[in-house]
Assembly symmetry: C2
Homo-oligomer: 495 residues x 2
């Protein structure tokens, strides 16, 4: 019923009744899995989704993991205005060219027609540049290390939950430094934070490197990214870290008097990660039964399902409550599903769909034996170790060990997939063939020439994802055009 | 210099050079104290402030206190779209009448002129109503208990940091229930959460009660509020909790099949608290030296200032670092100000201005005696107990005890002020006289007649802040008009 309304009212997606097999249609599987797990819902606002409580809890956990790392690296949070006057946006030429086509414009306030349009922020370099120009006077004011958690809007026609929405939630870091050496170090430091969060928190292996000129952030000197590989062989850009050089400092007047009494422009950076990361980890880890969430992020790490038996109801319920309380006290996010209106089998499916990493089943036999049955979500039914028994006496230790194992298990599976779908090739034919077949990351020695890059894209729909410089003294030729290679570059189609 | 730029570029405030005495000009004192403490800055966006890192840290601490209580009362967070199509906004007549004059409108997206204008949310009852209509089908889906942390926009000409800004940060809770009894209980529960956070977290005593019809939220059946009293005798509405009855459920179609198989409209509530609360606590607690922050909220609860002495630099620095580490380990938010470029006296003033509750001074004598000097921000210079010595051996205990005492000290001072500026009067002359003199809260038995209320407002500029019903069987007459009294009502001018 709700499924049909979703279609009738907003018509953005085909009917979501059952989750189709993942291998059959990744795109439909993805949308259906996200929707049925109640991560999001469509709204009457084109391109905008509602992030439902279960989805928001996932985002909150990711936020906390990132925020702790931002603070540990010396950053503080702040907040800047949602609206940016048009004249300000215009000051950095590359930036406005890149973003103007995507901007939503406020032209009226109350009954007043505005004399100057206000852009709804697509990103905040501009307004933050203006403010940093006010705050930075001396080298003693540097570095400025600020992060913002906010919402941004980029006008989009298509909607794909988390991966492509008109409005999205993200964080954007903005820093200013006294030298290029320091700002470049910041760019690298935050890229490493993203890499670590992708791998250790999201269980999502990534490749890191620098974007080509054509894929660079509008107004940046250098853009670095982390890129994950999705099951269909397409890359997902999961976060970016930008070296803005002195471009924004010049456009917005961020100047300081250095130790040598000279007035200089600051060197700035920006770096961002959005709820797109959630889309990536869902698409990568999920299976035909639904989501598989990494324990570090899962809203509920453990669900307890009592298996009722006539005459033992009270003993089972008492043990279930005891298990819940002990796990909660041990810092585990635990949910006891003691609803009467559903059978255990229904609950198993429900929590598998929602990706809870570990299920504890408690029945009459368990009460007697002092054990509970533990079922891992990262392993398939019947797979070795998927179902184990935990001694109640050793409950906390056992659950923590299993959650660690599941976190690592998901990462290992995704790592194995990435390794199996990453190719180093040395012939042009093989290169184009692999790209056309969308097999994953294909890496070549690359000339980094925009013309060569454009040809590859028009032939294969694949783009450079990111690249690293060749080792000094290494003389290789570009596999695509035969010219002198500058970098080792990953190519793939992308989301 | 920065002060002058603030004025030249944005012209929103008079020159902020020094903080004027609080008693001389509360309004100027307030703005100057907030600005010099680096809580906020003006921006080139009319009516919008930037929340600087120190201000945001204060907001984050308040968020955490609220969020923990929301979760403890069964709520989860979610996120809904920033934009609301005009046609949706129009469905609840009272609501649109109340909010339309304050709405910022998006009329263009990229190069596309929109066929329907999008409101930038002034509040989210509308879009959330539409979504709840999709999610609620059966009594089993109720209650829906959701909170949102987001930004909203209400078109304003004036700017007063935190108290009146076009865009502001807040939380808005939205719940749906099967009966009016349950929704009314929710309204009361969340009002009590706000009261507790005001008193125990912000050290801000408040009066609680229901708003009159003319002060009610647009579209609500009942609005309840907490109201604090500012040093100039004006009230500050610090949070509201609304009983929306079935108004929004009818307008947006939130229906469910109840246990009795009847289809019914849900009963909804909403409740909100914004960064305005920060403005209230700053205005109430601050003094001529600047902010005085309650320890529960302060970004830094303790600042350590070493007092250098030739020959003892290393011993002093080592003790300062030891104190910092021990306090951080004990969960205290601590900052060691070991900057070389400033003298201790400068640092004292700086951290007093920024409201740090407790200063620890560490000099050569302290190193020898195994004690540190502790200076409380809640007490005046030279006041009994303002300066004490703490044994380093008992550091953590001593600091925790002092922070508790400061939290209670600020609350007691504010409570004494409120008690001294709250009047129960029984003569019309005295009532009007006290209101005209803006002495604080003036409480009377009140008829709750909008005509009487309008007369009081036009004569005195004071409005009903909130009110409680008379005790059953109590027969009193309205002090203002002599008609039969319905309530005991607080009147005051307000922010």
């Amino acid at each position: 019923m709700a499924e049909e309304r979703a279609v009738q009212e907003y018509g953005e997606e085909t009917l979501v009744k059952e989750i189709p097999p993942k291998a059959a249609d990744l795109s439909k599987w993805y949308t259906a899995a996200c929707w049925k797990a109640e991560l999001f819902d469509y709204t009457p606002v084109r391109g905008s989704i509602a992030l439902r409580p279960y989805g928001y809890a996932l985002w909150e956990n990711l936020q906390r993991q990132l925020d702790d790392r931002f603070k540990a690296t010396g950053h503080m949070n702040a907040y800047f205005p949602l609206f940016i006057p048009e004249s300000l946006l215009m000051r950095e030429a590359d930036h406005v060219e890149g973003f103007a086509p995507e901007v939503a414009w406020v032209t009226q306030g109350g009954s007043e027609k505005l004399t100057e349009r206000l852009a709804v922020r697509p990103t905040s370099e501009v307004i933050i540049g203006v403010m940093y120009a006010r705050w930075v006077k001396s080298y003693r004011d540097l570095p400025v290390l600020i992060n913002c958690w906010n919402n941004v809007v980029r006008w989009e026609k298509a909607t794909r939950p988390f991966l492509r929405t008109m409005e999205f939630l993200w964080q954007e870091g903005h820093t200013a430094h006294a030298s290029h050496e320091e700002s470049a170090a910041e760019v690298a430091r935050m890229l490493e934070v993203y890499r670590e969060v992708a791998e250790d928190v999201c269980a999502l292996p990534v490749v890191t490197g620098e974007k080509s000129a054509s894929e660079r952030f509008a107004g940046a000197l250098h853009t670095h990214s982390i890129e994950a590989l999705m099951p269909d062989g397409k890359a997902l850009q999961a976060a970016t870290s930008h070296d803005l050089g002195q471009n924004f400092a010049r456009a917005y007047g961020i100047e300081f008097v250095d130790k040598d009494q000279q007035t200089k422009h600051a060197w700035t950076t920006s770096w961002g990660l959005s709820w797109r990361m959630l889309g990536g980890l869902i698409m990568m880890h999920g299976d035909d039964r639904g989501l598989r969430l990494p324990p570090v992020l899962a809203p509920y790490q453990v669900v307890i399902v009592p298996i009722p038996k006539k005459g033992s109801e009270e003993a089972i319920a008492a043990l279930a409550r005891q298990v819940r309380e002990r796990l909660a006290k041990a810092g585990v996010r635990v949910r006891l599903d003691d609803r009467d209106e559903h059978k255990p089998g229904w609950k198993f499916s429900e929590w598998e769909l929602r990706g809870v990493p570990l299920r504890l089943e408690i029945g009459a036999r368990d009460v007697e034996s002092g054990r509970v049955t533990a079922v891992r979500r990262d392993l398939g039914k019947g797979e070795d170790g998927a179902k184990t028994e935990l001694a109640v006496a050793q409950l906390e230790l056992g659950v923590h060990a299993l959650l660690d194992a599941i976190q690592q298990g998901l990462h290992a599976q995704a790592r194995a997939f990435l390794d199996a779908h990453r190719f180093d090739v040395s012939s042009r034919e093989e290169f184009f063939d692999l790209l056309r077949r969308q097999v994953g990351f294909v890496r070549i020695p690359f000339c980094d020439d925009p013309a060569c890059e454009a040809e590859i894209k028009s032939e294969t729909s694949a783009t450079t994802r990111n690249q690293v410089p060749l080792a000094q003294g290494e003389a290789l030729t570009c596999v695509a055009c035969g010219g002198p290679a500058q970098t080792l570059a990953y190519f793939a189609r992308s989301y």
